[in-house]
Symmetry: C2
Subunit: 266 residues, 2 copies
């Protein structure tokens, strides 16, 4: 693969200017126009949202529909297609990781009956890959496939604590959004929290995201010892202590790590 | 949307011949080359698998990687990217349905501790959208995001029993694959089974897929009363009777249907 890698690096520029590149980038823009608050869009909305001319959006949506990546409902509006979801189910950082983690998450759910979440870091944010939640569990702001800032959640704090230094500095250099009166938004305070996470091997979020939730997270490690994900449990604030939850969450995280080939402790 | 629909129908042909169409169809081919047994592929494997020239595969993979739809590992091999999975999480027939169904599936899992599955029909096959499975549950052949024939599974039989007549006839006209000595492969026998499913409101698969499993499924209905999915539980053959499982599975299916806006009984 070294040859291919070198070839790829040497002609990235001409490729990005090619007609193929333009078509695929535009198609990606069209796909990325969909969101949790706009799962279905008319052609006009798609064109407006992407900034593409109506005729171009129409042509692209037609091809994407033909390929099964988009689908149309009875009213003619577009939504993300099942075919895309089938392909995406093969993403190692998405459902691939989820398949390994699910049995351990279910154990954790069985003993807590609370929200159990699995997430990874992508850039300066976390992406939630899986969530198990009973109908009686405390409501959470996260969504499977959704992104969230790293600094307030227990899951995000684990991912950030074990991220490369440049990622940590990039997060600390930006304004830290506040969700509740208790959210830590001072970079120095957050830096101290991250050091504690590394020292303890787990993280806590006490009313940092909503005033009625507390969460505890632990790192999931790959075979090479690197932290590739985090697992967390979210409970009603006041219903359990972080110290009581931590051993259960760490046990689940270690189980997943072991299945991924890691023999290191967290 | 009627206007857009008419426009789309009138120029499907020129579109499919356009450069944009070619690029997107080729990119889709590249994405579809990945599978459960080949989640990671080198450029050479990708080219071989798609039948595209190495230089074309290389150019397309480069653009797809740049867009985040593909990712490369340390060795330079490609896999489906997290970005694609994030977009696909918005597919109403994939994770959208799953989000509504999950709490009811968890209830079913809590009382059975067995495999609980959610699936939909796409063409003449079923696609599994979600599965909860304990570490001690009976092994199953299905995979989230994977396809399976409709005729042998309880889930597939529900989906087939409530499918349009032309879909039923198309399935019955083809050879029915045999998985165990007990698999029903006679179209007349299957036709009778489908009538029973409609009459009972649920389906059973007794050692039709593996000799050590039994499954029971019930239909999930949308607000307009149409069957849009099925939910099933898979247990070790001999560990429980279909009659004992059916009420639980039907209750879960009705709960999901109610959340989808259906007020009909199954």
């Amino acid at each position: 693969m070294r040859v291919a890698s070198r070839v790829l690096a040497s002609d990235t520029r001409p490729v990005t200017r090619s007609a193929h590149g333009l078509a695929i980038r535009r198609a990606t823009r069209l796909l990325e126009a969909f969101g949790p608050d706009r799962r279905t869009m008319t052609l006009t909305q798609l064109a407006h949202r992407t900034g593409l001319p109506l005729t171009t959006a129409h042509r692209l949506a037609g091809v994407l529909t033909e390929c099964g990546l988009l689908e149309r409902d009875d009213a003619g509006a577009y939504h993300v297609g099942l075919r895309l979801w089938e392909i995406a189910a093969l993403a190692p950082r998405g459902l691939g990781l989820r398949e390994v983690a699910l049995p351990f998450m279910e154990d954790l759910y069985a003993v807590t009956q609370e929200n159990v979440q699995l997430g990874i870091r992508d850039g300066l944010e976390s992406v939630f890959v899986e969530r198990l939640a009973g109908r009686l569990a405390v409501p959470v702001l996260t969504r499977v496939g959704g992104r969230f800032p790293l600094h307030p959640t227990a899951l995000g704090r684990v991912l950030l604590a074990y991220a490369p230094p440049d990622v940590q500095e990039a997060v600390l250099a930006r304004p830290l959004a506040s969700f509740t009166p208790r959210t830590v938004t001072d970079p120095r305070a957050l830096r101290k929290i991250l050091a504690e996470v590394r020292s303890l091997g787990w993280a806590v979020n006490d009313r940092q995201v909503t005033m009625d939730s507390l969460s505890v997270a632990a790192p999931v490690r790959a075979g090479d010892g690197s932290v590739v994900a985090a697992v967390s449990v979210v409970v009603s604030a006041g219903s359990a202590t972080a110290n009581a939850l931590a051993p259960m969450v760490r046990a689940a995280a270690r189980g997943i790590s072991r299945s991924l080939g890691s023999d290191t402790s967290d």
